[in-house]
Subunit: 411 residues, 2 copies
C-alpha cells in the first residue's frame, strides 16, 4: 500500500463515517450504527472503495479497538464496579448464560460444530455500554435505578465477554474445547486482569510522576501509549486477548489523579482511530448474500431473523431475573441490555479472520449486532417516557457520579 492509497482510504473512511454517523444521530440512533452502515456502503459489497482485508487498514482498525477498550477502561472505576449491587451481577450473569446457551442450542440444531456454536453464543453475550448509556442520557433517565442496574450489568458483561473471547480465540488456535481448558483460560484471563491491576496500581503513580518530571513534552500520552502496547502485548503472549490488556491499562489509569488529563489527550486520537474499526468491520459485510432470490438467500435471511429474535429475547429475560426488585420497570432493564456493540463486533471480526466464519456467516453476525443496536433505542423509547425535568436542566450541570462518568466518554 502506497502513501497515496492510504490517504485515499482514510479519506473515504473518515468522510463516510462522519456523514453516516451524523445521519444516524439525527435519526436518534447511535453514531456507531451509522459508521457500520458507512462501512457497508463503501466496502466490499457495494461501492468497493476500500479493501477491508488490506494489512495496513487491518492493523489501524486493531489499534482503533485497543484505543476504544482503553477509553472504556478509563471511564470505569474499580471501587464503583465492586460496589455494584447483586441485581446488576445477576442480570449480567443471566444475560451471558442465556444467550450463550440459546445460541449454542440454535447453532447445534443447525448442525454447526461445537466450536462454531460456542462462538455464535459468545457473540450474543456482550452488551454495549455505549449505546444504552447514550439512549438513557438522551431520555434524561441516567439517574434512574433502571439505568444504574443496566450500566452496572453492562460493565460486568463486557468483562465476561472479553474472557469469553479469549476462551474462544484459544480454542480456535487449536486447543480442544474441554471444561479443563475453559477453566485454565478463564483463570489466565482473571489472573492477568488481577496481576495487571495490582502491578499497574503500584507502578502507575510513580510512572506518572516521572512523566511529569521529564523535560520533554507529551510525557503523559506517551506513558499511556506505552502502557497500552505493553499490556496488550503481554496479554496476548500470556494466552489472553490483546484488548483485555488495553482494557486493564485503562482501568489502571482510571484510578490515578491524571485520569482527566489522559482522557483529554486520548479523545482526539480515539475520534480518528475508533471509526476505522467500525468502518472496516462494516466494509466486510456483503449484503448480496442476503438476496432472497438467490439460492439459500431466504434461508440465510430467516436464520438472521431467528438469531436476532433469540438475541433480543434472552437479554430481555435477563432483565427480569432480579425478581426481588419492586418499583422498577424490569422490562426496561431487559431492553436496555439488548444492544450488542463493540465486543460483539470484535467477536465477529476474530471469527472472520481465523476462518471460522465464512463471508456470509460474518455478514449475518454483523447484521444481527446492528439489528440489536437498532431495535433497542426504539423499544426503550416506548417503555420509558423522557424525563422532561431532567432534560430541561442545562447541559453543563456537573456530572460526577459513576453512571455519568460511564457515559461521558462513550461516543
Amino acid at each position: 500500500m502506497s502513501l497515496d492509497q492510504l490517504l485515499l482510504a482514510l479519506l473515504v473512511i473518515w468522510v463516510s463515517a462522519r456523514a453516516f454517523g451524523e445521519i444516524a444521530e439525527r435519526m436518534n440512533q447511535p453514531a456507531v450504527l451509522g459508521e457500520l452502515v458507512a462501512g457497508v456502503v463503501v466496502g466490499t459489497g457495494f461501492l468497493g472503495w476500500i479493501d477491508p482485508h488490506d494489512e495496513v487498514l487491518h492493523l489501524l482498525a486493531e489499534m482503533g479497538v485497543l484505543i476504544l477498550l482503553f477509553e472504556i477502561g478509563l471511564e470505569m472505576r474499580l471501587p464503583d464496579l465492586l460496589r455494584v449491587g447483586g441485581a446488576a451481577t445477576l442480570v449480567a450473569l443471566t444475560g451471558v448464560v442465556l444467550p450463550v446457551a440459546a445460541g449454542y442450542a440454535l447453532a447445534t440444531a443447525w448442525g454447526a460444530t461445537p466450536v462454531a456454536a460456542v462462538f455464535l453464543g459468545a457473540t450474543l453475550a456482550a452488551t454495549s455500554v455505549g449505546v444504552t448509556a447514550r439512549v438513557l442520557r438522551d431520555l434524561g433517565r441516567l439517574a434512574s435505578t433502571e439505568a444504574r442496574v443496566i450500566l452496572g450489568a453492562a460493565v460486568i458483561d463486557d468483562v465476561l465477554g472479553l474472557v469469553l473471547l479469549t476462551l474462544v480465540t484459544r480454542v480456535l488456535a487449536g486447543e480442544p474445547l474441554s471444561a479443563l481448558v475453559a477453566l485454565r483460560i478463564v483463570t489466565i484471563a482473571v489472573a492477568f486482569l488481577v496481576a495487571a491491576l495490582l502491578i499497574g496500581r503500584r507502578l502507575a503513580p510513580p510512572a506518572l510522576r516521572l512523566a511529569a518530571r521529564l523535560h520533554g513534552r507529551g510525557g503523559l500520552i506517551a506513558a499511556a501509549a506505552v502502557t497500552v502496547c505493553a499490556f496488550a502485548f503481554v496479554a496476548g503472549q500470556a494466552g489472553s486477548a490483546a484488548i483485555l490488556g488495553a482494557f486493564a491499562a485503562g482501568l489502571v489509569f482510571a484510578e490515578t489523579d491524571r485520569r482527566a488529563d489522559i482522557e483529554r489527550d486520548v479523545r482526539p486520537i480515539a475520534y480518528l482511530f475508533v471509526p476505522i474499526f467500525f468502518v472496516v468491520v462494516g466494509a466486510q459485510v456483503d449484503l448480496r448474500a442476503f438476496n432472497p432470490l438467490a439460492p439459500g438467500g431466504w434461508r440465510l435471511l430467516g436464520g438472521v431473523l431467528a438469531v436476532l429474535a433469540v438475541a433480543i429475547a434472552t437479554k430481555w429475560a435477563a432483565g427480569l431475573a432480579p425478581f426481588w426488585l419492586h418499583g422498577i420497570r424490569r422490562n426496561v432493564v431487559g431492553v436496555g441490555m439488548v444492544p450488542r456493540g463493540e465486543v460483539g463486533l470484535i467477536f465477529a471480526q476474530v471469527g472472520r479472520s481465523t476462518g471460522l466464519l465464512d463471508a456470509r456467516q460474518f455478514s449475518a453476525l454483523v447484521l444481527i449486532v446492528m439489528g440489536t443496536t437498532f431495535v433497542a433505542p426504539l423499544l426503550l423509547r416506548r417503555l420509558l417516557p423522557p424525563d422532561r425535568d431532567a432534560l430541561a436542566r442545562p447541559d453543563d450541570t456537573p456530572r460526577t457520579g459513576p453512571v455519568e462518568r460511564l457515559v461521558a466518554g462513550t461516543s
Copy 2:
C-alpha cells in the same frame, strides 16, 4: 506484520525516543537529536530491534511527517510571513543558493551525476525552525532582532526546501533536469500553494462552522484530518509533494478562529506519530559504514566532515548577507541558520527510498544533518550570552507575538 509485532515495534520506538530525547534535552540539545540517536541504536546498524524498511512502519512514519508539517503550518501566520522584512528574505535566499551551489560543486567534483549533485545541495538547504527557535528560547533571546531575522528566514527556507524537494522528486521520477522542467515544477508548487490557500481560506470557516453544528463529537479533529489527507493527496497527484499539502492545510487552519482548539487536539497525536519518523530515519543509519579501518571508511568519513564544513560555512555566510543591518550580531544570524532538521531528513529519506542514495550515502547525509543540529546550539551559546532578565520572567507570561507562536509548537 502481525498486531503483536506492531505493538513491539511501537514500544521500542516510543520508549527509546523518550529515553534518548530526555537525555538530549538534559544535555541542552534538542529532543529530535535524541530521537535520531534512539533510531541509530535500535535500528539496522546496532541492536536491530526494529526494521525501518517494514511497510507498516514506513507508512506510520510518513503519517508522522504529514502531522509534523501540518503542525508547523498551523504555527505560522501568513500575514506575519508576508510582513517579514527584506533581511529575512535575503538571508533565506542566500541560505538556499549558497548550500545548493556548494553542494552541487562538491558532489560534481567527486564525480556524482547532476541529479545526485542537485540532491545533495538541496538537502543542505533547509533550515530547521524547531531547533533554532528552541535554543533561542532557552537563551531568553526570542525577542531579539537576530531571532526575528533567523526565524523569518527559516520559515521562508522551509517553503523553498519543500519546493526544491518537489523538483528533485520529479526529476528522480524520470523527468530530465532542465531549466524548463524546473520552472514548471516550481510553478506547480507555487500554484498549488496559492490555490490551496485561496480555496482553503474561503472553505475553512464554513467547514468549521458545519463541524461545530454536527451532533457527533470530534468534528474539529476529523475536519483537520480530512483536510490534511485531501491536500496531501491532491498535492501528490498535482505533481508536488504530499508534505506541501499538509503544510498548506496547516496554513489554512492557522487563519481560522479555531486554530488554538485544533492545535490542542493535534498535539497528542503529534507526540505519538512524529517520533516514529525520526526513529525510523535514524534506524536506517548504519554506523558500521564509517569504520575507519574498513576499505573506503576513511574516505567516507572525510567526505562527511567536508560536507558538514560546507553546510556550516554556507549558512554562516548567508547570515552575513544583509550588510545594511547594523547593531545586530550577524554572526549569530548565520549560526542560527546552521541546523538542518526535518526537511533535510525528509530529503535523505526520499533519496533512500527512490534508490538514488545507497545505504552509506544515506547514513552520511543523516549524520551531516545531525552534525549541524549538534554544532549550532554549542556555537550559539558562545556567540550569544543568555539574557538573564528574560529568563527570570515567569514561564507563564503570555506569548502572543509571531515569533513566540512559532516556538510554541516546536517539539
